[in-house]
């Protein structure tokens, strides 16, 4: 796959898969305000997906649309990081995943605002406004629940322990990322790490949680080589309508 297409799928598949996961909460959140917040976050992420995958389809030049890429690819074609495809589990787990992703996402988009590719810089500038809101809310919630009751604290600590090994993948550039960085299209992923660690350390401390020292990292989502078994199940649900009624319009 050409680099730019591959890289745009990484951005668009992250927002698509997380957007779908978060949308699974619609009508199920613990309180009305949180239900609305989750639905709005999902909506923003799906909106961003339309821009990333829309541009991916354009640069691919095979007459496909963002919808074609979202609904007519299989798990092995997806380029999202493993973190976003993990199941929601409980509310605290969902918000911890959101906080970890938002914190990376905000730094990444900030870097992309300086992209040499004007189309990418435009999408990043538009998305960054929304993602700043997401990050503010998810950080507040992680603090509220971490420094909350004994029950909520334990659940947040368990979520952090479970999810932390999935963060490393987002900071390990491969050959595609390296070429994007050399062309001035995208920031160096490894260079985002120190800013990320600082944000995480502050919030986690305020949430009275403990971060493990381990840097062990699960990987294989961003190049599609080793997605978890969860992605296929999620796609089966997400894609069933357009796959059952191809080219249906409404």
């Amino acid at each position: 796959m050409p680099d730019l297409f591959e890289w745009l799928c990484r951005m668009g598949d992250n927002t698509l898969v997380l957007g779908h996961r978060v949308s699974e909460w619609c009508g199920h959140a613990p309180v009305l305000e949180e239900d609305i917040a989750l639905a709005n976050t999902a909506l923003d992420l799906i909106g961003q997906t339309q821009m990333w995958l829309g541009l991916a389809a354009e640069v691919q030049g095979e007459g496909r649309s963002a919808d074609d890429l979202a609904f007519r690819r299989d798990a092995w074609d997806f380029r999202n990081c493993l973190l976003v495809e993990l199941p929601n589990r409980d509310f605290g787990h969902t918000l911890m995943r959101q906080f970890l992703f938002d914190s990376w996402h905000k730094l990444m988009l900030t870097g992309l605002c300086e992209s040499q590719d004007d189309r990418i810089a435009a999408i990043a500038m538009k998305s960054l406004k929304e993602v700043s809101y997401h990050q503010e809310r998810s950080a507040d919630t992680v603090i509220g629940l971490g420094d909350g009751t004994a029950e909520s604290h334990d659940r947040m600590q368990a979520a952090l322990d479970r999810l932390w090994p999935y963060m490393g993948e987002l900071f390990q550039p491969d050959a595609v990322d390296d070429r994007m960085t050399r062309q001035g299209i995208a920031p160096d992923l490894a260079a985002l790490r120190s800013g990320f660690d600082a944000i995480i350390a502050d919030t986690i401390q305020e949430a009275t949680l403990v971060l493990t020292d381990s840097r062990f990292a699960h990987r294989g989502g961003r190049d599609g080589s080793r997605h978890t078994e969860h992605l296929g199940h999620m796609l089966a649900v997400m894609q069933v309508l357009p796959r059952s009624y191809p080219d249906a319009r409404w």
Binding site: A37, N40, A42, D44, I46, M125, S127, Y133
Partner: protein, 151 residues
């Protein structure tokens, strides 16, 4: 009969926002430009939030309103520079407040309760009934209200 640019803006100023119908699309600041390109009218709009379902309705409402005036238009979406609440008109902000929605403030929170004008207000949630709004509450009159987020 051919329309003038001035007429086009006037007509667009009469198209209500689909979600907050007390303000027009011009008040909302989503109409970037109106141009005549090779005999064809082009209206350029800036979407508010990327996933906002109202964007498509806004496009349809523009087409419908102008075709009722006998004008066919092409709509172009422009995302850069990104839409900001700074582009909302002052009259639009006043109409929002009269309607019960606190208008956006650079400080990031409402200046006062749109019902009783008290400044003793608190945030309930950063997210509200539409992507552009947050939920706040007045500690004096105890009423909840929408705040139009400043972005």
């Amino acid at each position: 009969m051919t329309a003038t640019i001035q007429q086009m803006w006037e007509w667009l100023g009469q198209v209500p926002d689909p979600e907050i119908p007390v303000i027009s699309l011009v008040d909302l600041g989503v109409i970037r430009s109106v141009d005549q390109v090779g005999g064809e009218w082009v209206v350029t709009i800036s979407p508010t939030y990327t996933g906002c379902p109202a964007t498509r309705v806004i496009e349809m409402d523009i087409q419908t309103a102008l075709s009722a005036r006998g004008v066919a238009v092409k709509i172009r979406r422009q995302i850069a520079p990104p839409w900001t609440t700074d582009w909302m008109t002052d009259s639009g902000k006043a109409k929002l407040e009269a309607y019960g929605i606190a208008p956006p403030q650079p400080s990031g929170g409402p200046q006062r309760c749109p019902h009783c004008a008290s400044t003793d207000v608190e945030k309930i949630s950063q997210f509200g009934s539409t992507p552009c709004k947050a939920q706040w509450r007045c500690r004096d009159c105890l009423e909840p209200f929408d705040y139009f987020k400043c972005i």
